[in-house]
Symmetry: C2
Subunit: 86 residues, 2 copies
């Protein structure tokens, strides 16, 4: 697989998530990551989260830990997103 192509998310057994198309890691702690991807900002939530790798050349990243959710946050909609105003 060419890691530079497109945006993909691959999760294995809720304990590991691998991503391509990641431009930047904006912030993270053990319960939440905020990533900038080529298809929008992406929040990943869980417990005991750790960054396994992040590579700006390949635009790839991997996070280990117990995954609870991931969600794209689009155009300042972060807050209302959870209330689902669509």
């Amino acid at each position: 697989m060419d890691m530079k192509q497109g945006h993909t998310v691959k999760m294995d057994g809720r304990k590991m998530i691998e991503l391509t198309g990641v431009i930047q890691v904006e912030r993270f702690d053990s319960t939440e990551f905020l990533l900038e991807t080529i298809m929008g900002k992406l929040k990943i939530r869980g417990t005991g989260l750790k960054m396994k790798y992040f590579d700006t050349v390949n635009k790839s990243a991997a996070i280990e830990g117990r995954i609870t959710a991931f969600m794209y946050v689009e155009g300042g909609m972060g807050k209302s997103f959870f209330r689902r105003s669509t």
Copy 2:
């Protein structure tokens, strides 16, 4: 890949999500799927969602459409996490 093994989620470009370890599709419409997986109930949200396939033998499923989020719904956490008014 043996589709019967474990629970995996693979998303490609926010337009297609493939899953293994899916026991049942509890309900779905064009904006939300609720799946029972071997690792807990999983909600997938988006727009224009369609079921591409679901196979109880392989425990595999695929959903097409614009993916916005997916989240595991665990023991009593559902409400505070979602707030969905439908």
